[in-house]
């Protein structure tokens, strides 16, 4: 089922929201120079609840933090499901004792993002249900995104800690072998077996032997299975801690960060333009979208216009990219429910040809480094148009129909996917799910329609949405989106104008004026957002990536509870994560 989304503007424009919120909470809310609501810490929950219930900001796009010289700014972006730009909300926290009330009770999607802010900045969120490190390991000392954090051997002391253990008694053999020696320290009171005990604040998943005993009359026990990080179906180094009762999942905790390389810290050290190739490494199945999101954000801050031809090229490549990404996502989901690579092989056949197009245009199949602020790096080569036309008019529609006819009607696919991993619409919005996960729950929300960027508003296409909210709906959304993307590419290829491919002033060194911006694009896996803050220097003051894969995982535990072990894998597959983006 395809639905055409209302393109009516948001019930309230961000400026209206700001004005009304200020009128309603005159003591607690002010508006800063960038149009963001600055909310008093103590009133945050009241203001947030009012914003959600009375001003329609039901969806929390993004939550992050900026380390200012005198304070921490926790920044929230929330938007209305009716469309329009998100409203920025800022809460200041003390440098000495940074505590902010947790917004999880208002927007459940704040859960992982608050943990990330705690992990990276040390800002604590009072009332958070499980405030633990999420990307760094439990024993890590320090908060790497703070401006005063010094990286060992690079900025800081050669040996930041004498020993991993506070009293210096215990060491790991491998520490002798690495050049880093003991570049990590466990906090006092931390024991290697500590995770097996419930902490006083009940923040750890309870792995206590007593709690695992269950149904004492038949003497059965619950089983903890750590799926991953080395596991064929976790799509990378991702771990799921499962508590099983027989084959049924009682509890699931996602554990991530095995591939964490602090993308944001590196981004803050890089020059503005040098981040462009680095965004390719986020969701490496959807390179072009990543670059587009970053380019869009910085263009907003610099106020550059992108020439028409460049906009067309961007849209053509991004939509082709979406098609190949969905080929990958759909057929890997089939793999996850137990198909032996056959659908995948057929999909990869098509994907390779799309990658050929990317290669002839950008010079690389995966790490494209193609967008620039104000346009694209190279014009389309001559061979592009004939091949692209054959693909979008002939080969790809057939391949999609073939997949549809072989997979969609299959009895086993049906029984494995229908009614499994159901995420109702309200929960999907609450958990800040995005992309096919949100649209598979019957919410026809697509950034390309809700806040059109590029030239999406010029083309005729529909938002695909299915109301069931199960794996099957997500699968059908992806199939439908491939067809809609083909429609967009066909129209864009037809209208492709001539002209320059770069706008703005030519400059060796890009200067981004002081300011901040949140830019977002609809990537194949959901809403990819970039929040950048510039202080007018050569590199970003703050560079934050709103990763759709990471935030979609917030709902994983809820979706999985009560299902079987085999469904866990299928549900994870239907979220379609890429670990490069989850862990950043």
């Amino acid at each position: 089922m395809t639905m055409t989304m209302d393109v009516r503007p948001a019930a309230l424009a961000p400026a209206d929201v700001a004005a009304r919120a200020q009128a309603r909470f005159p003591e607690a809310v002010t508006v800063d120079a960038h149009g963001a609501l600055v909310v008093d810490r103590a009133a945050l929950i009241d203001v947030a609840t009012a914003l959600r219930d009375d001003f329609g900001l039901a969806y929390l796009n993004n939550l992050t933090c900026v380390d200012r010289p005198d304070r921490f700014d926790v920044v929230y972006h929330a938007c209305s499901m009716a469309g329009g730009a998100p409203v920025a909300i800022k809460v200041a926290a003390d440098k000495a004792n940074p505590v902010v009330p947790s917004a999880v009770s208002v927007w459940a999607g704040a859960n992982f993002q608050e943990r990330e802010v705690y992990d990276m900045f040390g800002v604590r969120f009072a009332g958070h249900p499980n405030l633990r490190r999420i990307l760094m390991w439990d024993g890590f000392a320090g908060y790497p995104l703070r401006k005063d954090w010094k990286e060992a051997y690079f900025e800081g002391a050669q040996k930041p800690f004498n020993s991993r253990w506070p009293d210096g008694a215990f060491f790991f053999g491998e520490e002798k072998l690495t050049e880093w020696k003991s570049n990590a320290k466990y906090p006092r009171g931390y024991t290697a077996t500590g995770v097996e005990k419930a902490r006083p604040d009940n923040t750890v998943m309870v792995l206590d032997a007593e709690d695992l005993k269950h149904a004492p009359d038949i003497g059965s026990e619950r089983l903890i299975v750590n799926m991953g990080p080395q596991h064929p179906s976790t799509h990378g180094v991702f771990q799921m801690q499962l508590v099983l009762d027989g084959e049924t999942v009682v509890d699931l905790q996602p554990v991530m960060g095995y591939m964490h390389r602090n993308h944001e810290k590196i981004g803050e050290r890089n020059l503005w333009l040098a981040n462009m190739p680095y965004t390719d490494r986020l969701d490496y199945i959807a390179q072009i979208g990543n670059e587009w999101g970053y380019a869009l954000t910085v263009e907003k801050m610099m106020g550059i216009e992108v020439p028409d031809r460049a906009e067309h090229i961007r849209i053509i490549l991004a939509e082709l990219n979406r098609i190949q990404s969905h080929f990958w996502g759909v057929t890997f989901l089939l793999n996850d429910i137990g198909a032996f690579f056959t659908p995948m092989m057929y999909a990869i056949e098509e994907r390779e040809i799309i990658l050929d197009l990317l290669e002839m245009t950008t010079g690389s199949r995966l790490m494209c480094n193609y967008m620039r602020f104000g346009g694209v790096a190279y014009d389309l080569p001559e061979a592009f148009l004939p091949l692209a036309n054959t693909l979008v008019y002939d080969r790809l529609p057939r391949a999609i129909d073939e997949m549809d006819s072989f997979l969609t009607g299959s009895e086993i696919v049906d029984t494995r996917m229908r009614g499994v991993g159901v995420l109702p619409a309200e929960q999907a919005i609450g958990y800040s799910a995005s992309g096919p996960v949100l649209r598979g729950s019957g919410v026809p929300y697509d950034v390309r329609k809700a806040e059109p960027y590029g030239i999406y508003d010029r083309f005729d296409w529909d938002v695909v949405s299915y109301p069931e909210g199960d794996i099957y709906a997500r699968y059908m959304v992806r199939l439908g989106e491939m067809r809609e993307s083909l429609k967009i590419v066909q129209q864009a290829l037809k209208q492709l104008p001539g002209g320059p491919i770069m706008g703005g002033k030519k400059a060796w060194q890009i200067r981004v004026p002081e300011g901040e911006a949140y830019g977002r694009v609809e990537n194949p896996r959901g809403e990819l957002g970039y929040y950048c803050v510039s202080d007018g220097k050569a590199n970003p003051y703050r560079y934050h990536v709103r990763s759709p894969c990471f935030i979609n995982l917030t709902a994983l535990g809820e979706m999985t509870k009560g299902h079987k072990v085999a469904d866990t894998v299928a549900i994870l597959g239907s979220i379609d994560i890429v670990l490069g983006e989850v862990d950043r």
Binding site: G338, A339, F340, M345, Y346, E349, R416, K564, A566
Partner: protein, 343 residues
Amino acid sequence: MTSAIELVETVVKCAVVIGALLTGFAYATWFERKVIARMQLRVGPNQAGPAGLLLPAADGIKLFFKENILPAAVEKGVYFLAPVMSMTVAIMAFAIIPLADAVRVPWGDGWLRFQIADYNVALLYFLGVTSFAVYGIVLAGWASNNKYALIGGLRSSAQMISYELAMGLSLVGVAMIVGSLSLSEIVAWQKAHGWLVVLQPLGFVIYCVTAVAETNRAPFDMPEAEQELIAGYHIEYTGMRFALFFMAEYIAMITVCAVAATLFLGGYALPFGIEVPWYLDLAVLLAKIAAGMFVFVWIRATIPRLRYDQLMDFGWKVLLPLAILNLVLTALGIYAYENGLLG
């Protein structure tokens, strides 16, 4: 004197059949890789020898020389016993398959039968021995001290119990029609009256489905479901110990194909009473086994896995009632035929 000759004869037969089974296993893996590759737009093995035909040998050498890792916390005795048990049971089941028509020879009782044991309750023997196969898996799962292996072993035992019943019942129809449990007599009956698949279509279908489940093959490969359990019960096995499980699985496939051919598809005999020399009998049986193996591989390449609870539902709620229905229909048919109600 006679008994000594018979003993030598049996030993030679056993050696030949075991040798053939091991080679058959090796080439079954090659066949599977090649067929799946063609179904997936790939080429498949093509480096070791012509068309990759030496690949099984290379695999064998590799497995022989791999380190046999013994995990620290396993239950040693059972851990060693489990693969041996799986393999032994898989080979044993083949003993009852008649491979070709008997030929005249100048020793013994004058007949050389191409069958290790012409057992008069061969069908029961087959069911009994294949049931034993699950012990290897359950013990491996339990002894490995690994959660995935344990879940795999548990699934396997539940799956075997549910599918064993339907499988047994699907074979009863054959025994009722032929009036014998001996496989050579069943083949002889089919030579005279035509293939049993015509009289027992439902039984044949049920047997095929349960056979896939019994051999733990896709889409019923729950105990080793790669996507959830990684490798299931043999996750902690390496080298030749792992290879034994692998062999057991493929040999079990060969055996169930051979049993399907023997019980339902006329065994080594060609249809319509065409008589051929014994070596062509052998070729006919091999062709039927190969066709069965192809179906196994075809299913694996094309069908996703069922979920464990769906599998159990299917076994108890669909296959078992169908098998009982088949039994009742067969009995009614025989009654009608014997009383001349069919005209």
